[in-house]
Amino acid sequence: MMKKTVSLLFTTLLGCVLAVSAQAQLVVEIDDGTDNPTPVAVVPFDWSGSGVLAEDVASIVSSDLRRSGLIAPIPRTDMLSFPKTPEEVSFRDWRILGAEYVVTGRIQPQASGYLLSFDLVNIFGQRKVFTKQVTGGAQQLRDIAHRAADEIFEAITGIRGAFGTQMVYVQETQRGGQPSYALMLSDIDGARARQIRRFSAPVMSPSWSPNGQEVAYVSFETGRPAIFRENLRSGARQQLTNFKGLNSSPTWSPDGSKLAMVLSKDGNPEIYVLDLATGRFTRMTRHFSIDTEPNWMPDGKSLVFTSDRGGKPQIYQLTLATGQVDRLTFDGDYNARPRVSPDGKTLVMVHRSRGVFTIATMDIVSGRMRVLTETRLDESPSIAPNGAMLMYATKRGSKGILAAVSLDAGVKYSLPSQQGNVREPAWSPYFD
């Protein structure tokens, strides 16, 4: 079998820049899974170094796979043995437990970190599927685990894993009786949450650059809304707009060269595109209604956006070359904040159904709409780069929490914050 070593250099850099804030973490609670998840046993990994490892790597792999909803990890307490290698796997024992796959692994210390060798064994087929290796620095045990989970997930489901991705979100807490706002960055499982920047005025609408190195967002720190871009590695920051009125909803074009945004300097909200190289703003809409929440189609040739030009908020598509605007949604009286799946076939949006705000998908070709969530006050959907799941913001009691749902609605989990209200999750792109 082919061996593969994955470098985790990028995340090392990111980890160095940002301080970890332990109490800010989000905790995963699985709410719902698919009907027939594949049973997989991730056996505790062997550690050949001294002392105890800071993280239980096999357990992180197991949690990742479980969160996908497509895989049902077998509890460690049910395991009859802890094989270290594929050769030690007793097919009969694992068949009794109903395991379709077993994962074994060995972690070795290296000069500046760790090497994980892990194997995927098919129990029914009685054969080893692969052995792979991942290396990482001393602080990267979680990254190593997520990479291993990505490989295992893709081998079993055929879907590229996104366990090594991250998210940016907004956290609001009370400090000395005043609201305090923070732009947060965490792993996609909510772990290792760290503060990018703290604000005493509201911050909103974080959006990733397609290379995963920057975020754009709206901050009220100057006394009015303004759009900023910030480099997550260096912390370098630039204010991009300071127009009279709204400066909102920045989203990066797929090639990273432009930002779509909303400006109301002409009197009412219009969609603009900023060319980041030249600094030139191009007005894209001309209508006296509210035009807002632009998002790019994957080919970069058109934008989808929200407009109430028909009387109620609905989603429209704007072809950039011609300026032609076509209405996309007709189902319901409130459809807003569209995001497009990576394959460009599905729209996700905030949809009001019987007075309740939910997250819905729409097949762009057929126009068929499907409500995905049953929570309330759902908003800000953000799709994973593999198009399998989306993260969104909702309320539990009076608390703002994050939750995730698969695009087929089969899998659901939530990520309540241990501190304050969290909202506006933005799922990162892949980092490679």
Partner: protein, 159 residues
């Protein structure tokens, strides 16, 4: 049904004029209709020397930016004081409730603050002294998801 901004403005104009005419206030509201020439800086009765503070928040219906009749009465009083004041910029802060998306609500908050601004300008207030800013749903006056909390949050604050 939602009116377009233009229609809304037109309506606001008509209503403003109507409100001005039908007002039985003892104060001089006649110049509310003189919207082409700015009101002369006359040293009229400085009656508001020990002014009772006016309520500085006006409220709106869901997804609406049309001014309610009670709001127009209050804004006429504000306009009278603003015309009398010689300095200072007034901030009109538009807000929305938690229903609906954040970015759309930011636009809705601005539309509400603009409706208040346009009405005040019709009452003779100098537009240059009015600054509009929207916070959308980012700064609720009242936390919670009850209808009364939401009604308190759909507002424009005159500062």
């Amino acid at each position: 049904m939602f009116k377009s901004v233009k229609t809304g403005l037109g309506l606001a104009c008509v209503l403003a004029v109507m409100a001005g005419c039908s007002s039985t206030d003892t104060e001089d509201t006649g110049n509310a209709m003189v919207d082409t020439t700015p009101p002369p800086v006359v040293e009229e009765t400085p009656v508001q020397e020990v002014a009772v503070p006016l309520d500085n928040v006006v409220y709106f219906d869901f997804d609406q930016s049309l001014l309610k009749p009670s709001t127009r009465e209050l804004l006429i009083k504000h306009a009278d004081r603003m015309r009398a004041a010689t300095t200072g910029t007034v901030r009109l802060e538009g807000h929305a409730d938690e229903l609906g998306t954040r970015e759309y609500n930011l636009a809705l908050g601005e539309r509400r603050a603009n409706a208040v601004r346009d009405f005040l300008v019709l009452q003779g207030v100098n537009a240059a002294n009015l600054e509009v800013i929207s916070y959308g749903e980012e700064r609720p006056a009242q936390e919670g998801s009850s209808e009364s909390a939401r009604a308190m949050n759909r507002r424009v604050v005159i500062n």
